[in-house]
Symmetry: C2
Subunit: 371 residues, 2 copies
């Protein structure tokens, strides 16, 4: 535990909390959405675009970067910051999630996990020590312990054994971690079993990390199940440490996890929706391939001040999206990342004002009344 990253809570509203995340690459107001820069780039956007959007922490995927371009190249470039030229805070995952979700063949044992690369089928082994070292070489401000994210439909016995092994791996990650300018976060697993979630929480917090993530949710279970698990875990995490919910990016979901005290979250949804021609607005999702937008000369989102909304019409963006033009992908990505970033800013304001709950209910009502 290096203490490189810390959180300062400045206001609370119920379980929801607003504050500031301090990192070696700057401070970020929380709650904060972290755009996913899978291979060292947030689809089509420059670091300058991300700065204009007001993005805070940018996430990199260790699994992908390990294979492409390879960790040695990123290290030689001065880490992910030097390589991608993003000067703000960064977080890398351990690669575990991709190992478990992408690999067709994998063997897990106490030592770690052996798997076939999704790129060329070659065999690789990730151990807690190895992914810790790789992440130190990538050099993000926050690194994550190697965990197993079991299939949502796995048996209780599997989850029990898995979370205990994940805790032993977490301990090995902590022992292996040496980079002073980088923090290491633990991950709470346990599937949809309340007592297993509690056990994982207690094992993980006993080890002690600079921050804690809740993993293994938003992977196919119902929204009620997800929130019920999160509400067991989140309030019982150390209140002086940042809380990271892994893998949520839909606007309503973001507000629901914020309501339960989460500070950070990431998801490919805003960027992936953009690549499929969909944008987020307060009135819901909107697919620009819909014929109704072909002659709609109003801005994408009249309440939004982003580059896409202040410059172009729906008709033009719809044309770009239909024709698979790069500028369409770029502008829609820009808007969607801006939208969730602004949503977090508003959430912070309403937490400070003490009216988060009512504001959130209004948002949900209007949003789900959309398309």
């Amino acid at each position: 535990m290096s203490g490189a990253v810390s959180i300062e809570i400045t206001s609370r509203d119920g379980e929801a909390r607003a504050g500031v995340l301090h990192t070696p690459h700057g401070s970020v107001p929380t709650p904060t959405f972290m755009p996913v820069g899978t291979k060292g780039t947030v689809k089509g956007l420059t670091p300058g675009d991300l700065e204009n959007i007001g993005a805070g922490v940018v996430l990199g995927n260790t699994y992908h970067l390990y294979f492409r371009p390879g960790v040695e190249i990123v290290k030689e470039a001065g880490g992910l910051h030097g390589f991608s030229r993003w000067g703000g805070p960064m977080l890398t995952d351990s690669g575990g999630y991709q190992v478990f979700s992408l690999a067709k063949t994998r063997k897990i044992n106490e030592e770690g996990v052996e798997f076939a690369s999704v790129y060329d089928g070659s065999i690789h082994a990730f151990t807690p020590e190895f992914t810790t070292r790789v992440q130190e070489d990538l050099g993000a401000d926050i690194s994550m312990v190697l965990d197993e994210c079991p299939p949502p439909n796995a048996e209780r016995e599997y989850h029990e054994a898995s979370l205990r092994r994940t805790a032993r791996w977490a301990e090995r990650c902590k022992a292996a971690h040496t980079r002073e300018s980088q923090s290491l976060f633990g991950i709470v697993q346990g599937g949809l079993f309340p007592d297993l979630r509690e056990e994982s929480l207690s094992l993980t917090t006993d080890i002690g990390f600079d921050g804690y993530a809740v993993g293994g949710l938003s992977v196919g279970e119902s929204r009620e199940e997800m929130l019920s698990m999160l509400s067991l875990v989140s309030p019982n995490l150390p209140s002086d440490k940042p809380r990271y919910f892994m893998g949520i990016g839909d606007p309503v979901g973001i507000l629901e996890v914020i309501r339960l005290g989460v500070d950070m979250f990431d998801c490919v949804l805003p960027t992936r929706l953009a690549r499929h021609g969909s944008v987020l607005t307060k009135d819901g999702r909107m697919n620009l391939k819909n014929a109704m937008f072909r002659r709609d000369f109003s801005p994408l989102d009249s309440e939004c001040g982003c580059e896409a909304c202040s410059e172009y019409s729906r008709a033009y963006l719809s044309h770009l999206v239909r024709e698979d033009e790069l500028l369409g992908h770029r502008m829609l990505t820009h808007h969607n990342v801006h939208f969730v970033t602004e949503l977090c800013r508003e959430a912070r304001e309403h937490i400070s004002a003490g009216d988060f709950e009512g504001w959130m209910e209004n948002f949900k009502r209007r949003f789900s009344g959309g398309e």
Copy 2:
């Protein structure tokens, strides 16, 4: 002839000339490379990017815009300027080149040309009057007459009949043209036959246009043949009108046509090369997929001040290109358009300084010594 667009020649060096093209959407120093915004967008770049690059005239393709999104939509948006939000000068071609190069089936007669759309096979007819009206609706500063660009290997008899029909079409375009804020340029054809080039030149200048293009070259003939035809035509065009060479974008070719007195030229080459991972530098073309760039942390082009070169390393851009990341296409396009734009700026300086020829020979020597 509306006179909306005019040229002011400020210096000459041999046949080469430097000046300023005046249009209703601003003035552009010439010689100038015109980036191609096929469907109302220059692949991945915003109007703001083009402004930063220093781009002058942006070209739109009538054929593609007629089908996608359709001219009515562009017209309703306030023309190509309103639709794409590019505030500078624009030029549209007549669509003829695409009709002749893309259509599998087409029937040409005195009236015009009937062809099957490359998008859905539906049958359409372009006449001189029709393409003039479509271009008036698109509303660029410069529109082009409908011409036939015959296959390079066509017989002399075909070229002869074709250039005469093209001249009759040009006359009909001029008669049909009414938009005061838009100029109409004629096009000289005639294949590789010196006397036919002369006949086409004389027929076209007799009709009288605001500017003249040289068409039907750079379509498969040798560079020597191309330049020999251009050297017959260019110096005999009215010296007080802009001269546009259609379809050249390789750096050496650009300088060779500038040397013969051309003021404007366009080509998809810089943007197409970028999509294939290649960049232009003074040392020649460079393909970033080449393994030697994987660990090359120097800038793309150390003599270039564009966004791609001042921000990123070859290693990072090579990674983006290999992974087919949008940011890679965007940055390489940015650099290549910047490169040819800067090349034109330098050419203007050397025309003014009176040492164009020597500078061009040095450039050619260094450029062809590259990859």
